[in-house]
Each structure stands twice: as structure tokens, then as C-alpha cells.
């Protein structure tokens, strides 16, 4: 059991020391699938919900925050019990996301989504099948209830991408 504990701590440490990759700016070769598979592997180290959520909470704490100017209603995602602001930016042919939330678990979940989707092309994002959510046992957050917004977030990220590409939102 010792080994597992160590490995787990290592994951947490990676986050804390900032080596956790927030986007794929530097590493364009990694596909959405590959990132998802890495996350699934990370999560496979946890054998109970507490460890899993501690990890998500840590992720949430380290999420690069959105600038205050974007914490306005127009950047609010509908359908979440916690408030989520999200901002999509286009750089070249790739999309980058920033987000914030008043709830830390929500932030952690967004962090995972951003890690998976940010830095990819509009087409890849639009077509992405986000199987990792189910596989790491977070399917409950995907439900149709309007209080849990993971589904809304995914939808919003895909929608923003389309909007940005169709020129309806300013580019950076």
C-alpha cells in the first residue's frame, strides 16, 4: 500500500509545484484522447472518493483564475448551482479557456476540462468525446440536473469555440 500512497502524493505534488500541465500550449502533439487517458491513469491511483475529491479540490485551488473583468453575467454559465465564469480565446488556430467558480469542486472539475480541451483546434474540440468523466467516476456531475453543471460547461466550451470561430466573439 505504501507505494500507492507515495504515487498519490506525487500526483498531488505535481499539482502543487506547478508541473501539472494547464494547457497544451507547449505540447501540441498530445491529443485530447491522450490527455484523457493520462487523467484516467492519475485517477486510478485513488481508491476512495476522499482521495479523488481531495485531488479535485487541489486542482481547483490551482486553477489559473479568470481576470476580474470577465466575472460578469455575460460570461456566466447557465445551469450551475455554483457560479461559473468562462472565457474562450483563440490564438492562431487553437482555443484556450480560462474560468473561475465560487465553488472549489466546480473549479476542480473545470480545471480537468480545461486541461483536456484547452490548446486544441476548434474542430477537435467540437468533435471531442469526453469519456474520461465517466471513467474517473464523475458521471454524477454530468447528470441533467440543473444544479450540477459539468454538462453545461462542456456545452458552453464547445459553443464558445464555435462562436469564436464564426467571428461572433472578439479574438485575442
Amino acid at each position: 500500500m505504501r507505494c500507492c500512497l507515495d504515487e498519490r502524493k506525487d500526483v498531488i505534488r505535481r499539482i502543487l509545484v506547478g508541473t501539472f500541465k494547464w494547457s497544451n500550449k507547449d505540447k501540441f502533439m498530445e491529443t485530447i484522447e491522450q490527455i484523457q487517458d493520462e487523467i484516467i491513469e492519475d485517477f486510478s491511483l485513488f481508491d476512495d472518493w476522499m482521495q479523488k475529491y481531495e485531488y479535485i479540490i487541489e486542482l481547483g485551488k490551482s486553477l489559473p483564475l479568470i481576470e476580474e473583468e470577465y466575472k460578469k453575467d455575460e460570461f456566466l454559465i447557465r445551469g450551475c448551482q455554483s457560479r461559473v465564469w468562462m472565457r474562450a480565446e483563440r490564438k492562431g488556430d487553437r482555443m484556450f479557456f480560462k474560468a473561475d467558480s465560487d465553488a472549489i469542486i466546480t473549479k476542480g472539475l473545470i480545471a480537468l476540462l480545461i486541461k483536456v480541451l484547452s490548446g486544441h483546434t476548434a474542430q477537435d474540440i467540437a468533435q471531442a468525446d469526453l469519456y474520461f468523466i465517466d471513467r474517473i467516476g464523475l458521471r454524477e456531475h454530468l447528470s441533467l440536473t440543473r444544479s450540477n453543471g459539468l454538462a453545461s460547461m462542456v456545452q458552453q466550451m464547445k459553443r464558445s469555440t464555435t462562436l469564436v470561430y464564426s467571428g461572433k466573439q472578439e479574438e485575442n
Partner: protein, 414 residues
């Protein structure tokens, strides 16, 4: 229910009877013969068990809880909406509004759609065949708005006179509301043809499908209608739940009807904004168990081949019609070429009520009276009929018992 190797094959309709616990009870010492499905159908074990399981293991309020039970309940509830969508081949599940039943669905459209779009001097087309639930809501809004109700007449077989309907069409008409199947006579109306006619004048069409959904395929897109309503309790589902389906463009344009929890986006005393579809029209805690069990009823129907249901019921209708006609003095009302498994009749020199009472003593349940279609009865010049209505769980034995019962009752009464 099927062995795995058969699971591509649909179950046989004639096996359905065993699924309904109440059909194996006795009434007045006799095995129950239930021939009043047009009023309310019986429920298969699958539906009853679904409700049971819901309250024993899954119950919680929907949509706003983050805890597991609430998530489960919400998922089941929304899954059921999805099943309804597929069942009637709607485009989107957000076009599926859960209501108490067909009646509430019609009232919602009359008050919300009518309230916004109806104009004084306009006309609403109904038919001589309609159930009160598809008359009174329109009368109420017509009176409020200063509109006229026009009534499509029927011929001697109980069929809509399509020429007359066509003649009524004009720019003045703001709604055509007709039933899909007449609960009193069994007439199946040519809905597709009617909506094609209506489209010429851009007239919205509401179809009251209360009698249709358990007796044949309903495809709202193919029918080309604008609104379609039906009730769970008439299609093997529970009481207190039904569906209003409407085209998204209309539902989006319509104002909310009831206010309250669930249907809002934000509330303040200064300004309230409404939620998106379908929630805009679902104020308050919905009939959660009912909605979920309606889904179970749809699954139940889905085990069978819809065409086989139609065929089975048509044969039963034919058998019943022939047998009943052998009874002296018996007259059948409603002999439409396209007819569902409903037979209304009278026996000379007897009153429907007397027949109903005596049949009940023999364990046979039929409906007697005006069947909530007083204008139709007035038109036929009778106060009511005896009505035997069949569903997939009825069989020839039920018909034989009915015929024997009628012969005996007639002897006693004349």
C-alpha cells in the same frame, strides 16, 4: 421477460393479458371482464413495480438537489421525457411538457397560445365528435377573446365531413382542434390530411390524442400537427400525468401559464425571468413518480410490435361487432371505415344505465352515459350509449361474456 435469444423479437400481443394483475380479480363473484379502457386503461405489473421501486429506493425532488437520490430521480425523470420524445417521434425532448393529462394540455395551449395569439373575430374549428375537454377550454378563451367556435359535422357513419371542414377554412381560423380518435364512436380521424389542409392557411392544429397513443403509432412530425396532447392513464400509465407536445417555435413564443418553482430562471420582486423549455411550462414540483412510470408504460408498449397491436385490436373489434349485431334490437353507433376498438351501442327498449348495472352484476365493466361528449349525443338524438372499449389485454372470451351478459340483461329488462 424474453429469453435472451428472443430479444430481437417482439412479444406477442396475446400474451399481454397476464401482465395485468387487476384482470385476474373477481367482481361480484365473477372473473372481471374489463371493457372500459377508453375511460382509463389498466396497468401492467411493470408500471406498478416502477412506482413501487421509485418510492422505496429512488424518491427525491428533482432538478435542484446535488445529492445522489435527487440525481437519480432527476435522471429517471428526464429519461422518461426522452422516452416520450421517441415514442411520438418528436424532434426535441424540450418539446415534451409534462402535464396532468390531455385536459390540462389543451387548457395550457388555449390559455397561453390563445391568450397571446387569438384575435377578436377569429374562429376556432372543433368537431361534433369532440370530448368536453376539447370543447370547453376553447369556449372559455373564445368568449374571452370574442371569437366564434365552428363545428365540423359528421356523416351517418360518424366520420368527419372533410368537405365541410375544407369549406370552413379561411384566414379567420386561428386554431383547429380535433381528436385523433373519438372516445365515443371510435372514429379515427384523417389527421395528416387535415393538417395538410390547414397548412394552406397557416392554421395551427392541435390534436387530442387521448384515445390514440395505446392503439397505434403516433408520429407527430409525420402527422404534421402543431400540438399533440395525451394522458398517461389511458395508455397503461398512472393517473395524474400526461403530455403536451408542441412545436418548439410555438412553445418558445408562448408565455408561461403557471408561475412558481422550476419554471423560473431568476426571481426578484422587480423582475423575474423564465426558464427555458420544457421547464418554462412546468411550474412547481412535477408528478415525478407519474412521469417516470409513464416512461415504464412506454417501455411496456415498446415490447410489442405496434402494427401487431393494431391488427389484434382490429380483429377483436370485428369479432365484437359481428357478435353484438346478433343481439336483437341492438344498434351500433359509429361505423367509420377507420375505427378503433370502441363500440357504442343501444338495445331497443332498454336504458344504458340499466344494462350497465346488470352487466356489472355479471362482472362486466362497460361505460354508460354520454362519455363526456354531450354535443355528439345531442346530435345523435340520444342521451347516451353503452360503450365497450378494448385494449391489447382483451380477448374473445371478454366479448363472449359481454354478449351473454347483454342477452341476459335484455331478457330481464324487456
Amino acid at each position: 421477460m424474453d429469453a435472451p435469444i428472443h430479444n430481437l423479437k417482439k412479444r406477442l400481443v396475446r400474451e399481454a393479458r397476464t401482465d395485468f394483475p387487476i384482470l385476474h380479480t373477481t367482481v361480484n363473484g365473477r372473473d372481471l371482464v374489463f371493457l372500459d379502457s377508453a375511460a382509463s386503461s389498466q396497468k401492467p405489473r411493470a408500471v406498478i413495480d416502477c412506482i413501487n421501486t421509485y418510492y422505496r429506493e429512488q424518491n427525491a425532488n428533482v432538478h435542484r438537489g446535488v445529492y445522489s437520490l435527487s440525481q437519480t430521480a432527476t435522471q429517471l425523470f428526464e429519461d422518461s421525457r426522452e422516452k416520450v420524445k421517441d415514442f411520438i417521434s418528436a424532434k426535441h425532448s424540450r418539446e415534451v411538457i409534462f402535464v396532468r393529462g390531455a385536459t390540462e394540455g389543451i387548457n395550457l395551449v388555449a390559455q397561453s397560445f390563445g391568450g397571446k395569439f387569438f384575435k377578436p373575430g377569429g374562429e376556432i374549428i372543433l368537431s361534433q365528435l369532440e370530448h368536453h375537454s376539447n370543447i370547453v377550454p376553447w369556449q372559455m378563451i373564445a368568449e374571452e377573446k370574442g371569437m366564434k367556435i365552428r363545428v365540423v359535422p359528421i356523416n351517418s357513419k360518424g366520420e368527419l365531413m372533410m368537405d365541410a371542414l375544407e369549406d370552413m377554412l379561411s384566414e379567420k381560423v386561428q386554431m383547429i382542434a380535433l381528436n385523433h380518435i373519438s372516445n365515443a364512436l371510435g372514429t379515427i380521424n384523417p389527421v395528416k390530411e387535415i393538417s395538410a389542409l390547414a397548412r394552406r392557411y397557416d392554421i395551427p392544429v392541435l390534436i387530442d390524442g387521448a384515445q390514440a397513443t395505446s392503439h397505434g403509432e403516433v408520429n407527430v412530425q409525420e402527422l404534421g400537427v402543431d400540438f399533440y396532447v395525451f394522458s398517461g392513464h389511458k395508455m397503461f400509465g398512472p393517473t395524474g400525468i400526461g403530455v403536451l407536445w408542441g412545436k418548439e417555435k410555438w412553445l418558445e413564443a408562448m408565455p408561461p401559464w403557471q408561475g412558481g418553482g422550476e419554471m423560473i430562471e431568476t426571481v426578484s420582486f422587480e423582475k423575474t425571468t423564465f426558464n427555458e423549455l420544457p421547464f418554462k411550462f412546468e411550474a412547481g414540483t412535477p408528478n415525478i413518480a407519474g412521469s417516470i412510470a409513464l416512461g415504464a408504460a412506454i417501455d411496456y408498449i415498446g415490447q410489442f410490435d405496434m402494427l401487431e397491436i393494431v391488427k389484434y385490436e382490429r380483429e377483436l373489434l370485428k369479432y365484437a361487432t359481428e357478435k353484438l349485431k346478433e343481439i336483437p334490437g341492438l344498434r351500433i353507433y359509429g361505423e367509420a371505415a377507420e375505427k378503433a376498438s370502441v363500440i357504442s351501442f343501444l338495445i331497443e327498449n332498454t336504458h344504458p344505465y340499466d344494462l350497465g348495472i346488470l352487466l356489472d352484476k355479471m362482472g362486466i365493466a362497460v361505460r354508460t352515459g354520454h362519455h363526456c361528449t354531450q354535443p355528439l349525443m345531442d346530435f345523435l338524438g340520444i342521451p347516451g350509449t353503452v360503450r365497450a372499449s378494448m385494449a391489447l389485454y382483451n380477448d374473445q372470451n371478454d366479448i363472449d361474456r359481454l354478449v351473454d351478459g347483454l342477452v341476459k340483461a335484455r331478457q330481464m329488462l324487456t
